[in-house]
């Protein structure tokens, strides 16, 4: 099989494909990976804007959202920029749905899975290139259906990303008609996309590893994507089926979930979470894999406990099927089950702990290089730890009585999904960019983006623990309606201000990405980047000082605060401007073949990797993926194709 693919690709190399077959209906796994990346990044903008809209409403309830005042007062959702309750619910629902299914999954699984698996195991492409292309275009179809929901009568789905029945299945309860049906249809379609991807990944890894690429020489990120694919293969059909049942209930008046007609509402929750818990590991495993990949490279040291890492992932893959009930402790499910689910949930925390300790072990004794990808990997580790630890509170079914459905949950999953998956995603993009696009993203701009994102991520999501402990329910439109929450409103304001800063902090990344891809390095453009980044930081600095002087609730800063804010803003802006002026490399310059001195096979392939990835012969693997700083070797790295002193061969595979 791999022989014929190889031949086919060999033939391809001699003629240029047309525009359509190269950029649109491409069969090349690297192009499909880039397509998934674009899809995810575009949807990230949509998801992010939705979040800022509902954060605005939470901080300054029932005021006009800045920038949306122009909307007609006949609009159902945001008349004159005021958020209505149903629009609020919709924004919350669609923010989560988009971020999970159309941002993190397409990028971490679709993009990195596609890009890395063949390159890192020494294959020329995926096992089923046509299926691979279909997987992407079906995902686009899903995204189109999902987006269409915003434009239909009655608005988009507004019953939470978890779509609890019967709120979601009986249109009269929300007043949402087509929107919710399109939501379910889109998930149904997206489940097929994931399914196709999973089949491809699993087949490819099992059958197409190059000579010498034994299972225990497979890089951990590929292992993680493999386990993710297995979870995807088994979990997504459940989501698809549940989505289909929801459509049946809504359109054909079946009554799977409607208790008024004899249905069972908890059945939806069981289906959703039986899919949903494996799903959260689909979101985090590739992130764990990326961290496990970056840490050894930038510690110049073998990963600590390679096998423990693999076994921990396999344990997670198994255990994630028997913990779903921890989302349902207070659902009315038989409470005796709560005890069982608490037990399994804490058991699954153990492999996560093992992985964390091994990452620390990898840092120990390293020679650490603080590149932008490494900063993201380090952030991943510590933020994942916080997310895992907050999981302990909720895993305790007793404590969960109180904190279930509060902001504590929101804090938890943002630490694991944003702090974990999204930081890994940014780190991975920066790290593999040279291989993906043939040029390296700028490190100085990357550092500005990283630090801003890291600081404001924590300022947005850490205080949510406090809100949750204070009893602040999630998914409420206006916290000021509750007396017991009013004292905490300054925290809500602080979070929203930080969220706006977090949004602005993405601007350096956008510049970095586009300037590098399109090689925009003109003098004026560089000045523009420096100026805008400096302005962003200055503006944030100004606002921070104003808030420090005046507190959260005072909209107009005093003259003193204004002066102090301006001084700080100018100082910060000048600092960032000059830092970038001095440190930004030429944007979009060609990247060397192996800019990070890394061992794994993707860096053996030429840059940019051609159709078919490797030259006429496939690389042969002779050592493990993380043999850095091997005693007796001149360089502190060597490609996996080099032989290794037999003394170390046993330990290092």
């Amino acid at each position: 099989m791999s022989e014929t693919t190889a031949d086919a690709h060999g033939a391809h190399d001699h003629h240029e494909g047309g525009f359509w077959s190269t950029y649109v209906f491409s069969l090349d796994h690297k192009m499909i990976a880039r397509q998934f990346l674009w899809l995810g990044l575009i949807m990230m903008v949509v998801g992010g804007i939705l979040a800022l809209i509902f954060r605005w409403q939470l901080a300054w309830p029932e005021t006009q959202v800045w920038g949306f005042e122009w909307i007609s007062d006949e609009s159902e959702g945001m008349p004159e920029g005021y958020v209505t309750p149903n629009f609020y619910n919709m924004a919350v629902t669609m923010h989560a749905t988009i971020m999970v299914f159309l941002v993190v999954m397409p990028i971490l699984v679709g993009c990195f899975g596609n890009f890395l698996i063949p390159l890192m195991i020494g294959a020329r492409d995926m096992a089923f290139p046509v299926l691979n292309m279909l997987s992407f275009w079906v995902a686009v179809l899903g995204a189109v259906i999902m987006t269409a929901g915003f434009f239909v009568e009655g608005g988009h789905a507004a019953s939470g990303w978890t779509g609890y029945a019967p709120l979601s299945t009986v249109p009269e309860y929300t007043g949402v008609f087509m929107g919710q049906t399109l939501w379910a249809l889109s998930l149904f379609v997206l489940s097929f996309s994931s399914l196709m991807g999973s089949i491809n990944y699993i087949t490819t890894l099992i059958n197409m590893r190059t000579e010498g690429m034994t299972w225990f020489r497979v890089p951990l990120v590929v292992w993680s994507l493999f386990v993710t694919a297995i979870l995807g293969l088994l979990a997504l059909p459940i989501l698809g089926s549940a989505g289909a049942m929801m459509i049946f209930d809504r359109v054909f008046e079946t009554n799977f979930f409607n208790p008024a007609k004899g249905g069972e509402p908890l059945l939806w929750q069981h289906l959703f979470w039986y899919f949903g818990h494996p799903e959260v590991y689909i979101l985090i495993l590739p992130g764990m894999g990326i961290a496990s990949e970056l840490l050894p490279v930038f510690c110049r040291k073998p990963i600590f406990g390679y096998r423990a890492m693999v076994y921990a992932m396999l344990a997670i893959a198994f255990l994630s099927w028997i913990v779903w009930g921890h989302h349902m402790f207070q659902s009315g499910m038989n409470p005796a089950l709560g005890s069982a689910f608490m037990m399994t949930t804490l058991v699954i925390a153990i492999p996560s702990a093992i992985k964390t300790f091994n990452w620390l072990g990898t840092l120990w004794g390293g020679s650490i290089r603080f590149t932008v990808p490494m900063l993201h990997a380090l952030a991943f580790v510590i933020l994942f730890v916080i997310g895992g630890l907050s999981g302990i509170f909720m895993a305790s079914n007793v404590v969960d009585i109180y904190i279930h459905d509060t902001y504590f949950i929101v804090a938890h999953f943002h630490y694991v999904i944003f702090g974990g998956s999204v930081f890994a995603l940014f780190g991975g993009i920066q790290y593999w960019f040279p291989k993906m696009f043939g040029r390296a993203m700028d490190e100085a701009l990357g550092k500005v983006h990283f630090w801003l994102t890291f600081i404001f991520f924590n300022m947005v999501f850490f205080p949510m623990h406090i809100l949750g402990v204070g009893g602040h329910m999630r998914r409420i439109y206006n916290p000021m309606q509750y007396e017991f929450l009013q004292g905490m409103q300054p925290i809500n304001v602080m979070i929203t201000l930080s969220a706006l800063a977090l949004g602005l902090s993405q601007i350096p990344f956008v510049f970095n990405f586009f300037a590098t891809v399109f090689r925009w390095n003109a003098k004026w453009f560089r000045v523009l980047i420096q100026a805008v980044s400096a302005l962003v930081v200055g503006f944030i600095g100004y606002k921070s000082v104003a808030v420090m002087f005046e507190g959260m609730m005072e909209p107009e800063p005093s003259t003193g605060a204004r002066i102090a804010g301006t001084v700080v803003a100018v100082a910060l802006a000048v600092w960032i401007y000059r830092y970038l002026e001095k440190s930004m490399a030429p944007l979009g310059a060609d990247a060397p073949q192996n800019p990070w001195d890394a061992n794994t096979l993707e860096w053996v392939a030429p840059t940019p990797a051609p159709h078919g990835n490797f030259g006429p012969t496939l690389p042969v693997v002779r050592r493990g993926p993380y043999e850095y700083s091997v005693p007796g070797e001149e360089a502190d790295w060597a490609p996996q194709t080099e032989t290794i002193d037999p003394k170390y061969a046993e330990a290092g595979h």
């Binding site: 040291k301 406990g305 005890s339 079914n397 509750y482």
Partner: protein, 222 residues
């Protein structure tokens, strides 16, 4: 962070707070340990010219230790939790002092009090919207019912929360220990009026409770 917990006013809530503190100290200690180790490694092992990284693939003793120790701690934690869980969720009180039936209905709590016959569904029931009256220091057993979608009955100061599922009757019990007024928000998204679906629990002293009952039924019979 603990001071952010609202005041607890129920006997059952103490179990929850205790385990909350256990989780809190456990996780804070672990977090500090990990963060300090990480910071130390990051600073100590930053790249320095001429210094090569250690060449090691791991250590089996360590792997075993950091598997077994967390497992042991979590096991203890599980055992500590389960007796509380049984008390709070499984041991339905047989002789509660007060019985009330609460129905979640978009976007109200409909609260039904039995009359002197102590039975629900008879003529002498009293039905109020969003107002739960209970005596202090007496165990209250609430039967939660749903009329339309799923809601979640939540009284932050008693630490109690329970989803309300249409088609089921779910028991919830607690013993309030402090006279006062407390909010009863709905904690599960239930539609556009979810935010603001909010009842009030009035915990009366024993004497006031008797007075309230007398007055409420008189008004009803008028």
């Amino acid at each position: 962070m603990m001071s952010w917990l609202p005041e607890n006013i129920s006997i059952e809530g103490e179990e929850i707070d205790f385990l909350f503190y256990v989780s809190y100290y456990l996780t804070v200690v672990v977090f500090i340990g990990v963060a300090v180790a990480m910071a130390y490694f990051i600073i100590k092992y930053r790249a320095k010219p001429g210094v090569k990284a250690k060449y090691t693939h791991g250590n089996n003793t360590l792997e075993i230790l950091w598997t077994v120790i967390p497992t042991f701690i979590l096991l203890v934690f599980i055992l500590m939790t389960q007796t509380s869980w049984a008390k709070l969720k499984l041991a339905i009180p047989q002789n509660p002092h007060v019985r009330v039936e609460v129905t979640g209905k978009q976007f109200n709590w409909i609260i039904r009090y039995p009359g002197d016959d102590g039975k629900f569904g008879t003529k002498d029931d009293l039905v109020l919207d969003n107002q739960l009256n209970v005596p202090v220091n007496k165990q209250v057993l609430i039967s939660l019912k749903g009329a339309d979608v799923i809601h979640s009955f939540f009284i932050p100061q008693t630490r109690m929360k329970q989803d309300v599922v249409p088609g089921r009757t779910i028991p919830l019990w607690f013993t309030p220990t402090k006279v006062g007024k407390y909010e009863i928000p709905c904690a599960e998204l239930c539609g556009f009026g979810h935010s603001g679906m909010n009842g009030e629990m009035i915990v009366h002293s024993e004497a006031d409770y008797a007075k309230w009952r007398k007055k409420a039924w008189e008004e009803k019979d008028k």
